[in-house]
Symmetry: C2
Subunit: 423 residues, 2 copies
């Protein structure tokens, strides 16, 4: 049984002009993987009849399912619907069943629709229209019986696209290809502070082949370390058994002390969930990350229950004024030091009256490094009512990447602090 | 003269598993657009010989240039080099010229390389090896004379990939296809606080066709409004003339008052550059954005010259303790109010002793809205030595998207404050 193959066509100039990231393609690759479908290709084309035709032809050759995003709105440059109709040689009709769906799409925003507003209800014969749970334009679906292919056109706006694929398109894929699904699972081991080569060549030279017994092995660099991913098909029970076996295997190796998670929960979610479970509050004092640690926590709904706030003390004066860092400590040790990071964490703990606080002071570059403290150095401080201290790390990457790495290491420090792993 | 066509093949499980965003594809689409090349397709494949062969065949059919990313490292699952050699029927040789390039790649990190370390110097005959300005594995290039195709394999790590394409691959593209380049330019008009339909149907119904005289018109939703982009080929002088003409055209329409930039500078860069030029310092007080505004500014090298810091006052207690907001103001008007946002901005101005301060208090959702202050409401406050105040906005989108929109509107508020456009 071969996996169902999916090709995607991204229609519109937004992507081709490079002015936005292709969010829909990234999202779809993730969604398809979890669903056990195979992502074959992603094509970027202009909103142009010939280009849509060519991309459709190529996509239908290599895939069972073709999903397009973009070009289904009401403006002049939205050509997807008419091109699909012509491609499959279907007449465009005024369809009252489609008008009903459009009416419903509008009504979810408290708006009314009338045929004079646009041509959403002009729709190819034999095509299906679907609801658009977060937008107005209906989804466009056609099942081609002879060749057993499914073509589905969704909106380009990412939040509309993901919702229509999940709620409307995926159930149709299941319906038309029910006999060809395979469940897909992953076991993920997340490590820190060790290089890829070190793991597989020095520390555990047989680990890769030992893990291959369970499935396909991948080694994926992450912000603060390497994630090892083992993927396999099977039932949920098989998966749970494999997950336990793999964990036992890893725990018998010297890699175990570098593992910070057996699982695949994003680090900000892990930190927030732990604080919520313990009913403990926390705060941050950030310098080089400039607010990114706080921003990562506040990306999560419900963070206000335990996250009280933070100080972005970019200037030394701000460290002194807002976090009670002593100017003498800065003069004696420099802003990027164990002493200053510790005082920053204590300052945040007291100012925000939280159970825990984590601080960062570092050099994100590209300017500002020295031989003693090269670019990429970050000191991460921590404080609770019982303990306080700081640790130094050095991370590679450009400025943006360093901010990411520093921030995730700060979140891991918060987790370790809550787990009483620091002293 | 048709534009050079490029296809990309992303090799490796990292993308297929949906665990990372395809940074290289997004980056390449942008790079190719600026270079005037056409991005035809992006294929995602496993690090598997058959899949690489199939993707190569398909890519070579539709494009002049094929660029791959991933699978050129030293580990077992790096199969790109050997597969390419077999595809073009070339023997792998031990090559001293490639050993020299590998040695050079290592030396840029202060490391030495020897043939025992790995097989980087085992390289297909007739292929070219290139330097890897940010990594160790050499780039792999083959020019197929008969069909006039160029195949280039780079690393999967984004910072290595972008650098090798820019510094090593692009000069080779220019060399082999010198006669087929076309310069490509864009004029961008960035608007705020007006819907796409409103612009083109109500406010300026002839604008789209008026702009099409100059080139291809696109309308791209951005965080705080709509960007109108006009793309065209021609010389730099043509471009400058068109840009001026388009600006004059827009300024004669009622859309002009919604334009916040004739140009394409990211809003954080625009704000920072303006503050640096004026030698004026600024600070932020953030609630709902949780540090994202500060983080966007500190993404930029050199921001420490004018950005002093910020407070993430997520809890009301933090607003009172760190920003001197009066608890009575919070009780009387609520945390999301003109009064509290104004006091937050004044608090930041005084605490950080800056020339300007901008604050935000809002409801990012999905919880916490009311009829009076629905989810998506944000009050943005501002303060300088001369003036202070606040304005209310409502933005759509999920929590993450709202944080983005709120943050960019705060940066625009800082720009308007520095331009003396607020009172």
């Amino acid at each position: 049984m071969t996996a169902l193959k999916v090709s995607m066509i991204v229609i519109g100039d937004e992507i081709l002009s490079g002015r936005t990231t292709d969010l829909n393609g990234s999202w779809l690759s993730k969604f398809l993987f979890i669903a056990g479908l195979e992502f074959k290709a992603l094509r970027f084309i202009h909103d142009d009849i010939d280009e849509i035709n060519q991309a459709l032809t190529a996509s239908l050759l290599e895939s069972d399912i073709v999903i397009t995003s973009g070009g289904i709105g009401p403006t002049i440059d939205d050509k997807t619907k008419n091109t699909l109709a012509r491609f499959f040689n279907k007449k465009i009709l005024e369809r009252s069943d489609v008008a009903d769906i459009v009416t419903q799409n509008y009504s979810q925003f408290g708006r009314t629709w009338a045929p004079g507003h646009n041509h959403y209800h002009h729709f190819p014969e034999d095509f299906m229209a679907t609801n658009n749970p977060r937008g107005l334009a209906p989804g466009i679906v056609y099942y081609e019986k002879t060749s057993n292919k499914l073509i589905m056109a969704g909106p380009g706006v990412p939040r509309e696209f993901s919702e229509i694929v999940e709620k409307e398109f995926f159930p149709l894929i299941k319906k038309y290809f029910a006999h060809r699904f395979q469940e897909n699972y992953q076991t993920v081991i997340r490590t820190k502070a060790i290089a890829e080569e070190k793991i597989f060549f020095d520390l555990c030279p047989t680990l890769w082949s030992d893990l291959e017994v369970y499935g396909k092995v991948s080694s994926l660099p992450h912000t603060i370390g390497i994630d090892i991913v083992i993927s396999y098909h099977g039932s949920l029970i098989d998966h749970q058994k494999k997950e336990a076996d793999i964990k036992n295997l890893i725990m018998s190796t010297p890699l175990a002390e570098h593992v910070w998670q057996y699982g695949n929960i994003p680090i900000n979610e892990l930190a927030l969930a732990m604080a919520q479970k313990k009913k403990m509050s926390f705060s941050f004092a950030e310098s080089c990350t400039g607010g990114l640690v706080s921003s990562k926590i506040t990306d999560l709904s419900g963070s206000s229950s335990v996250f009280m706030g933070g100080v972005v003390s970019y200037a030394n004066a701000a460290k002194i004024e807002l976090l009670n860092v002593s100017s003498k400590t800065i003069d004696d040790h420099g802003a990027v030091s164990i002493e200053v990071a510790t005082e920053m964490a204590l300052g945040a703990l007291h100012k925000f009256k939280t159970d825990y606080a984590v601080s960062l002071s570092g050099i994100a570059g590209p300017l500002g490094g020295s031989v003693e403290k090269p670019i990429g150095t970050v000191v991460i401080g921590y404080a609770s009512k019982k303990i306080n201290g700081a640790r130094t790390f050095i991370f590679p990457g450009d400025r943006i990447r360093k901010k990411e790495r520093f921030s995730d290491m700060a979140l891991l420090t918060l987790i370790e602090l809550m787990e009483n792993k620091l002293d």
